[in-house]
C-alpha cells in the first residue's frame, strides 16, 4: 500500500549518518571535483493546520489536523510545497531549520492538479539569508538523487536515492496522471516529513508526495511538472493544466485492428470518448478516430510516444506538461480510412461545465435548506464522505452519475439532490428520505442550488412542492410554516445559516 508521508509513518526512530558522499555521485558530477550539495539555507520547515469540510453536514467543518513538511525556497521570496500539504488550510507557518521563531505564511498559489503550492511569509524579511534553489535538469532512470530531511538540530539529513522509473502516474487529485519519478530510497522517520524535497546535486529534482515503507519506494512530483507550474503562475491570469478531455483504448488487439482496417505496423490509439466542451471536442476529434500523432510525435498502439529524456511515456505528457497552455498542438488522426490533420488547443478543463466537481477544496460546500429538507449539488467530495471504499459504499445512483457524467446532456446543469431531512414539524413523515435527485420544485426545473432558492420563492397554493426522481416521487411542505419556523429550525440544529450559495466553482488561488 502506498501511504502518504505523515509524521507517524516510520516505525523506527533512527538517526543514520547522512550518506552525503553517495548523493554527490550524480551524472552532472565532474570527475575529481566534489559535486555541490543541497544546504539548509534553501529550505524551511512548514507547519500547516488544515480543516476539511464535512459534506455530510455541509454547514460544519471536521476537526483540524496538522501537517508538517519541508518547503523549498525559490526565487521571489517564495516557498514551494505540495498542494496536498496545505489543502483546506486554516493556518500555515514557516520556521527556519535552526529556529529563530515562526512566521505566518499565506498561500499565494495552489494547483491541486499538479499537487504544488506556493507559500509566502507574511514577514518579507523572514527569508533573508536563505538561498533560492534552481530546478534540476536531465533526471533520467538511474540518476542518483538525495532526499532531504531535517534533524531536530536543524542539520540536514540526506538519504541517497535512485530514480528507478520515470512514468506518467496518478496524482492525489482524481483523474489526474502526470509525470512522476519513482525513487528507491531507504527513508527513516523524521519530523516534518509530509513534503520532502529531492535534490540532484544542489538543484531541486522534485517534491516527494508518496512513500511506501515496505518496498522503500517513493513517488515525487518532478522538476518538469514544477517548471510547468511555475511558468503557468508567472503570468496572470492563472491557467490550470491543459487537458485533451478524451479517453482512448489501445489498438494492440489484432482482430480489432483488422476490423478497423488498420495497416500492419500502423500506430495510434482508438478514441473512446470526447468530453463535452473539452479541448479535443473543439479540435474536432470524434469517437472512433484513431490518434496517430500529437505535436509531431508518433503515438504507438498503447498511447505512448518516444520522449528524448525518458523513453516511452503516455502522450498526455505532451499536452499537460511538455507544453504550456495557450498554444495548439497539431494532431493527425485516422477517420474512416483517411488521415486528417487537427489542431488541439492547449487549455485546461473548464470546471464551470463540469456537472459533478471532482474536488471541492478550500471552500465550504454549497447547500440550501428548505423546511428541514437539505439540498446539495453532487460532487465527488460528497461521495468521498463514505470513506476509502466510497465507490462501493456511497449511494449507487449518485456514484453512477458522477462517474459517467460525460454521458449526461451537456446542458444538464448540476445534479441537485435531497441529501437528508432534518426532522422538524414541517418534515413529519419524511425523516427517512435521503440521497434522491431533485427534478422540480414548484414546477420549476432544478439545475443548481440557485434554482432551488428561486423556486422556493414561488410556492404553489401555499405548498412547497418538491418533485424527486424516485420513490417517494413528491414531497409537500407548508410554505407558510416553512418560513415561520425557519429561525427555529436554524437555532435547534445550530445551523450557521439555512443556505450557503457561495462561489460555485473551484478557483485557483489567487
Amino acid at each position: 500500500m502506498i501511504a502518504l508521508l505523515r509524521s507517524h509513518l516510520f516505525a523506527i526512530l533512527a538517526v543514520l549518518a547522512p550518506c552525503l558522499l553517495v548523493a554527490a555521485e550524480t551524472r552532472a558530477a565532474v570527475a575529481n571535483s566534489p559535486a555541490p550539495l543541497p544546504s539548509a539555507d534553501s529550505i524551511v520547515r512548514v507547519n500547516s493546520t488544515n480543516q476539511s469540510f464535512n459534506f455530510g453536514r455541509p454547514w460544519t467543518k471536521k476537526p483540524p489536523f496538522n501537517r508538517r513538511g519541508i518547503g523549498v525556497v525559490i526565487d521571489g521570496g517564495r516557498v514551494l510545497v505540495t498542494a496536498e500539504m496545505i489543502a483546506n488550510h486554516t493556518y500555515v507557518e514557516l520556521e527556519l531549520p535552526v529556529s529563530s521563531g515562526k512566521v505566518a505564511a499565506d498561500v499565494e498559489s495552489v494547483d491541486y492538479e499538479s499537487n504544488l503550492a506556493i507559500l509566502k511569509p507574511q514577514d518579507p524579511k523572514f527569508l533573508d539569508g536563505t538561498k533560492p534553489v534552481q530546478l534540476g535538469k536531465d533526471v533520467q532512470v538511474g540518476t542518483r538523487v538525495s532526499v532531504l530531511q531535517l534533524e531536530n538540530t536543524g542539520a540536514v539529513a540526506l538519504t541517497p536515492a535512485v530514480v528507478t522509473t520515470v512514468s506518467v502516474g496518478n496524482y492525489p487529485a482524481d483523474g489526474i496522471a502526470l509525470l512522476t519519478y519513482r525513487l528507491s530510497a531507504p527513508l527513516q522517520y523524521r519530523d516534518n516529513s509530509f513534503t520532502m524535497p529531492v535534490f540532484l546535486g544542489d538543484r531541486l529534482a522534485g517534491l516527494l508526495m508518496r512513500y511506501e515503507t515496505r518496498s522503500q519506494s517513493a513517488d515525487i512530483v518532478p522538476d518538469v511538472v514544477i517548471a510547468n507550474f511555475l511558468a503557468r503562475i508567472a503570468k496572470p491570469p492563472y491557467r490550470g493544466i491543459s487537458r485533451a478531455g478524451i479517453t482512448f483504448s489501445p489498438t494492440r488487439d489484432p482482430q480489432f485492428r483488422r476490423y478497423l482496417g488498420m495497416k500492419k505496423g500502423q500506430a495510434g490509439v482508438y478514441v473512446v470518448s470526447v468530453a463535452h466542451a473539452a479541448a479535443a471536442e473543439k479540435a474536432g476529434l470524434k469517437k472512433a478516430d484513431v490518434v496517430m500523432s500529437v505535436g509531431g510525435h508518433e503515438i504507438d498502439e498503447d498511447g505512448n510516444y518516444e520522449n528524448s529524456d525518458y523513453g516511452k511515456i503516455p502522450f498526455s505528457h505532451l499536452i499537460s506538461t511538455a507544453n504550456l497552455p495557450g498554444g495548439e498542438l497539431p494532431m493527425t488522426v485516422l477517420r474512416n480510412g483517411h488521415t486528417i490533420d487537427l489542431k488541439l488547443p492547449l487549455e485546461p478543463r473548464d470546471l464551470s461545465k463540469v456537472i459533478s466537481e471532482p474536488m471541492v477544496l478550500d471552500r465550504a460546500p454549497r447547500y440550501y435548506i428548505l423546511g428541514g429538507l437539505v439540498f446539495q449539488e453532487l460532487s465527488r467530495s460528497f461521495l468521498r464522505e463514505w470513506g476509502s471504499d466510497w465507490k462501493n459504499d456511497a449511494p449507487a445512483r449518485l456514484t453512477y452519475l458522477d462517474e459517467f457524467q460525460d454521458e449526461l446532456p451537456p446542458d444538464r446543469g448540476k445534479i441537485v439532490f435531497l441529501s437528508q431531512v432534518l426532522p422538524a414539524d414541517t418534515t413529519v413523515g419524511y425523516d427517512d428520505v435521503a440521497e434522491i435527485i431533485v427534478e422540480k420544485i414548484n414546477g420549476r426545473t432544478i439545475r443548481c442550488l440557485e434554482d432551488v432558492a428561486e423556486a422556493a420563492k414561488h410556492p404553489i397554493d401555499g405548498f412547497q412542492k418538491v418533485e424527486l426522481e424516485s420513490d417517494p416521487g413528491v414531497l409537500y411542505l407548508d410554505a407558510k410554516e416553512v418560513s415561520e419556523t425557519a429561525d427555529q429550525l436554524r437555532d435547534s440544529y445550530g445551523l450557521p445559516a439555512l443556505d450557503n450559495l457561495g462561489d460555485p466553482e473551484t478557483k485557483a488561488v489567487p
Partner: protein, 488 residues
C-alpha cells in the same frame, strides 16, 4: 442477519421443560407424525455455470398432513438430488420426492415413494393465529442428537417479515422464544394439539437470543389451497410501492382530511398487476373495503397488519378492490392479479441451472441475486444497473442485464480484459435485451462479431474464423461440458 437452520452452527440448548401427563400424550401423538428429512442437494455454481455444482447433505424436519403428504420448508429440500425420510421408531429409510415446492413462501409438500411409510402416522390438523404470550411447542430434529426433540416457548410477536429463503418475499411471520436450531426447519409448532406454524428461520445466537420464526397457518393454508389444482401459481402482488402520509402539508396538498387514513402510491412497476391502472400520487384509502391507515396498515382478524396482507391471501386470477383519491376526487378501481411480477431478479433461485452463453472464451450471464452473490461486482455501471434495476425502471429497456461475466483466457480474447463485467448493449447491431438475444446474435453467421458494451468503450471485435479455431481448444482446456444453457 437471518440464517437458515440447516446452515448455521448454534449452541446446543438442553430441553428443560417439564411436561404434564396430557402434554406428554399430545407430544407422543405429534412425535409419531414427525418426519426426519435428509437431503442430498447440489447447489448451482454461478461462477462456473457449466459445472454441476457442489453436493452437500442436510437434515430438516417435516410432518404428515392430510392426503398422505409431508409438509416441510422449501429450503429443506431445495436443489435436492436425493431425499431420504425416516420416522420415529422405524429403522427404515424411505425415498421421497417433491410434489410441490413454493420458494416464495418457503414451503414444500413431499410424497414418499412407498405409501407404507404412513402406517401408524396420523395427519396433523391446523389452527389459526395463536394469541400473543400463549404457549407453543416446537418439534423437530435439531442439531444435538438423532431423535425427535421438543422445545417450548411463547408467541412473542406477529409481523410481516422477509422470508430469507427467497430473500425477496415478505409474508406474515410469528416470532417465538422457544429454542429453534439447525434441523428444526420444517417442523411443526404446536398449540393444543394442533399445528399453528412451521419453524423456519431465526437469528444466530451472536445476533439475538431466543428469536425464532415460524410460518403461520394463513400462509400454509394459502399454499395448500394454491396447489389443490395440481399447480403452484405463486403469489401475485400489486407491484407498487407506497409512501406513508403522516405529513399534514402532504395530506392537504393531496386533498385529504387530517384523519390518519390513506397512503400515497409512490412507484408502480411496469409489467406488474397495477401497471396502467394506478398512477403515482394516487392515495389508497381502502383495500377490499378495509380502511388503510396512513402508515399503510389495515385491521385484519383483530390485528393491525400491512395492507399487503390483504393481497397476500389472494390467488392468481383474484381481484383487489381499491378506494382511491386521485387528483382530489374519490375513485374506485379494481386490479386483477394476473401474473407474478416478472422482473424480480433479487430472489434467490433454486432448482434451476444458471443461464449462460460461452463464445470465444467469453462467458455471458444475466445478473441475478445468485450470480451477484457468487462474484464481486467491480464495474460501477453494472453495479448501478443491478442495484437500481427496479427503482429506475431499468428492466423496461433490458428485462435481463447481460454482462461479460468471465473470460476464459485464450489468444482469441487476449484483449478483452477491459470489458470484464461490462453490460452487453448490442451484438452486430442487434440490441441485447436478454441472454437469448446474445445466443441468437452469435448464432447468425458473420465475418466479424462486433460486441458493443454499455458506456463509452470501443467495440470488442471477434473474427468468426478465430472463434471457430479456438472453440475446441477452449472447451477442452477449461473443461467446459456445455457451451450454453438458456433454459430458465
Amino acid at each position: 442477519m437471518t440464517q437458515f437452520f440447516r446452515a448455521a452452527i448454534f449452541l446446543l440448548p438442553l430441553i428443560s421443560a417439564f411436561l404434564s401427563d396430557t402434554q406428554a400424550a399430545t407430544s407422543d401423538l405429534i412425535r409419531r407424525s414427525l418426519v426426519r428429512i435428509q437431503t442430498v442437494s447440489q447447489e448451482a455454481d454461478y461462477s462456473t455455470p457449466w459445472n454441476p455444482g457442489s453436493v452437500e447433505e442436510s437434515i430438516g424436519t417435516g410432518f404428515v398432513v392430510a392426503d398422505d403428504r409431508i409438509l416441510t420448508n422449501a429450503h429443506v429440500v431445495s436443489n435436492a438430488r436425493v431425499i431420504w425420510i425416516t420416522r420415529e421408531g422405524d429403522a427404515n429409510r424411505y425415498r421421497a420426492r417433491i410434489q410441490h415446492i413454493a420458494h416464495d413462501c418457503d414451503l414444500a409438500v413431499l410424497v414418499p415413494s412407498n405409501p407404507d411409510f404412513f402406517k401408524g402416522m396420523l395427519p396433523l390438523d391446523f389452527n389459526g393465529i395463536p394469541a400473543l404470550e400463549s404457549n407453543v411447542m416446537v418439534y423437530g430434529y435439531p442439531i444435538g442428537g438423532d431423535r425427535a426433540s421438543v422445545t417450548r416457548g411463547i408467541v412473542s410477536r406477529v409481523e410481516f417479515q422477509e422470508y430469507s429463503h427467497s430473500g425477496a418475499d415478505s409474508h406474515l411471520v410469528i416470532q417465538i422464544d422457544a429454542a429453534i436450531n439447525p434441523g428444526n426447519s420444517g417442523g411443526p409448532v404446536v398449540q393444543d394439539g394442533k399445528v399453528i406454524g412451521v419453524a423456519f428461520q431465526g437469528y444466530s445466537g451472536d445476533v439475538a437470543q431466543n428469536t425464532g420464526y415460524m410460518i403461520p397457518t394463513t400462509v400454509i393454508k394459502r399454499f395448500l389451497t394454491d396447489i389443490a389444482d395440481g399447480r403452484y401459481d405463486h403469489y401475485v402482488d400489486l407491484a407498487i410501492t407506497t409512501f406513508p402520509l403522516y405529513n399534514s402539508a402532504a395530506r392537504r396538498a393531496l386533498g385529504l382530511p387530517d384523519d390518519g387514513q390513506g397512503v400515497m402510491v409512490s412507484d408502480i412497476y411496469g409489467g406488474g398487476s397495477a401497471d396502467g391502472i394506478l398512477k403515482p400520487r394516487d392515495v389508497i384509502l381502502t383495500i377490499d373495503g378495509h380502511a388503510v391507515a396512513s402508515d399503510g396498515t389495515v385491521e385484519l382478524d383483530d390485528s393491525n397488519v400491512q395492507m399487503a396482507e390483504v393481497v397476500e391471501r389472494k390467488f392468481k386470477g383474484d381481484k383487489v378492490d381499491l378506494g382511491l383519491i386521485r387528483d382530489g376526487r374519490p375513485l374506485k378501481l379494481t386490479i386483477p392479479l394476473t401474473e407474478p411480477f416478472p422482473f424480480n431478479i433479487f430472489a434467490n433461485a433454486y432448482d434451476v441451472k444458471p443461464r449462460y452463453v460461452l463464445f470465444g472464451g467469453l462467458v455471458f450471464q444475466p445478473l441475478s441475486e445468485d450470480f451477484v452473490n457468487a462474484t464481486t461486482l467491480k464495474n460501477s455501471r453494472t453495479r448501478y444497473y443491478y442495484d437500481h434495476f427496479l427503482e429506475n425502471d431499468l428492466y423496461k429497456e433490458r428485462p435481463e442485464i447481460v454482462i461479460l461475466s468471465n473470460i476464459l483466457s485464450d489468444p482469441v480474447n487476449a484483449y478483452a480484459d477491459e470489458f470484464y463485467q461490462s453490460i452487453v448493449d448490442t451484438i452486430n447491431g442487434a440490441k441485447i435485451k436478454t441472454l437469448d438475444d446474445v445466443a441468437d446474435a452469435l448464432a447468425k453467421p458473420s465475418e466479424y462479431y462486433v460486441i458493443e458494451f454499455l458506456g463509452a468503450s470501443r467495440p470488442l471485435v471477434l473474427e468468426a474464423k478465430a472463434v471457430a479455431a479456438a472453440r475446441d481448444r477452449i472447451r477442452s482446456r477449461y473443461g467446459v461440458a456445455k457451451e450454453s444453457n438458456l433454459k430458465p
